[in-house]
């Protein structure tokens, strides 16, 4: 059996499926409508709250996703859209680099032309490169492994979002701490989440940090590898901070302690 055989075998599929796939849908899936309504309502509420208190928005809504091929969750995060002028570091050279990537992109490239990625020796150096006062650093005990910066731009190269992730290790617990900063050019709804092909259940909870901020937590049942997942999300000064932990059942108390410690430091 070759790819050509598979391509040709597809020729005989049902004609009603062909027409269905070949006709743009009149409406999106119900869950998406629900998401949109939820996002609008929550953004209105957040806008009113922000106008009243002057503080940044928080995390909004959790949507569980499950079908036959994947499980996961989505969260809508009410982050601030920063003016690109708030990015004062060398990151200002990235729009030109993205424009160059778009110019040189070929249809066979597996790389997305509007995404610029670079590894840094440390999280501190990556933050210097970004140069945004609102972006907080993380000074704690787990061993820092690697830091990756990903910048997403639009077709004109304008920065839409900045995503900074640092991997840590604490014994057998693996941690990934990320910061997401959106700019005025990002018109998306700010959805974050996680997907896995394994059949796991997700549970949502939250707690208040020492500074009174809400940290939203999503935990999973064990995966086939025996590892559990726990994600913490919070918004501070308009920036979304997330911590992803993978750990064995025996390390659950320590993982929870690390999450709380991270949340206290980032809020």
């Amino acid at each position: 059996v070759t790819g050509k055989d598979l391509y040709e075998a597809l020729d005989d599929i049902r004609e009603d499926w062909l027409l269905d796939a070949g006709t743009p849908p009149n409406h999106k899936k119900r869950i998406r409508i629900y998401l949109l309504v939820a996002a609008c309502l929550c953004l209105l509420a957040i806008g009113a709250a922000a106008a009243k208190s002057g503080v940044g928005a928080g995390l909004l809504q959790l949507i569980a996703v499950e079908d036959d091929s994947e499980t996961g969750y989505d969260l809508l995060a009410g982050t601030v859209r920063f003016p690109t002028g708030a990015l004062t570091g060398e990151i200002r050279e990235v729009p030109a680099l993205i424009r160059q990537q778009i110019k040189e992109h070929t249809p066979y490239s597996s790389r997305l032309p509007n995404v610029w990625t670079q590894a840094f020796p440390s999280a501190a150096e990556a933050r210097d490169y970004i140069g945004c006062d609102a972006l907080r650093g993380l000074d704690w005990e787990p061993t820092e492994a690697q830091t990756t910066l990903r910048v997403i731009g639009d077709r004109r190269g304008r920065i839409q979002s900045v995503w900074l992730e640092t991997a840590y290790r604490s014994g057998e617990i693996r941690l990934q701490a990320s910061s997401t900063l959106r700019t005025e050019h990002d018109s998306g709804e700010g959805r974050i989440g996680h997907r896995t092909t394994e059949e796991v259940d997700f549970t949502e909870s939250s707690f208040l940090t020492a500074n009174g901020a809400e940290c939203r937590v999503v935990t999973s049942t064990p995966m086939e590898s025996g590892y559990l997942m726990m994600d913490g999300h919070l918004v501070t000064d308009g920036v979304l901070y997330s911590l992803h932990l993978a750990y064995l059942e025996a390390d659950a108390p320590q993982a929870e302690e690390l999450l709380h410690r991270w949340a206290d430091l980032m809020s």
Binding site: V1, D5, L6, D12, R14, P107
Partner: protein, 186 residues
């Protein structure tokens, strides 16, 4: 003009059937051909060949779904043209990438019972598609039947290109398992 009226023109051997078909399904068939061939002129020639094939086939054929009938002719013509053209060089349409993706899940090799296997393969793929949720089935068909680009699929289904690529990757893995379980040599 509705399909019944167009088919009546074909059966009456009225040449007005061709412009009527082109007006109603020109965009649809051109999109299929352009996705595969990438080249506008090649696509237009391919679509013109589609009308000729349809003229020669109807009658005696009376397609139940005219759009699908024409789409299949266009797809086959474009595929053959692309294969001929890419014998010398890689084409610029989406087809080489799509074939590469499908090749990922097999290791190659011919079977002595190719024809029988092809029929069984079609049935197995249809069984696989029947079990998919509607949106995932449509994404799969958009990519592997219509040869749509990831960007077009992303725009159509309100997804990012990365999410489309990931969905297709998982669907290919799932199809691989499905075919392997049914004894196809991948």
């Amino acid at each position: 003009m509705d399909d019944e009226e167009i088919l009546r023109l074909y059966w009456a051997r009225d040449e007005a059937a061709i412009p009527a078909t082109a007006e109603k399904y020109g965009g649809y068939c051109t999109a299929i051909a352009r996705n595969i061939l990438g080249d506008r002129q090649d696509a237009e020639e391919c679509v013109n060949d589609t009308w000729l094939r349809a003229w020669n086939a109807i009658p005696p054929h009376r397609p139940a779904v005219l759009a699908a009938f024409l789409g299949k002719i266009t797809r086959n013509l474009a595929f053959n043209r692309s294969q001929y053209r890419t014998a010398a060089r890689r084409g610029s349409g989406n087809l080489p990438t799509v074939l590469d993706e499908l090749n990922e899940l097999i290791s190659g090799g011919d079977s002595p019972e190719q024809e029988l296997q092809n029929r069984e393969l079609s049935a197995a793929i249809e069984e696989f598609l029947a079990d998919l949720p509607r949106e995932k089935r449509n994404i799969f068909i958009c990519r592997y039947w219509y040869t749509d680009s990831l960007a077009d699929i992303a725009a159509r289904f309100g997804m990012t290109e990365g999410a489309v690529a990931m969905t297709l990757h998982r669907l290919r893995q799932k199809l691989r398992r499905h075919l392997t379980e049914r004894g196809f040599p991948l």
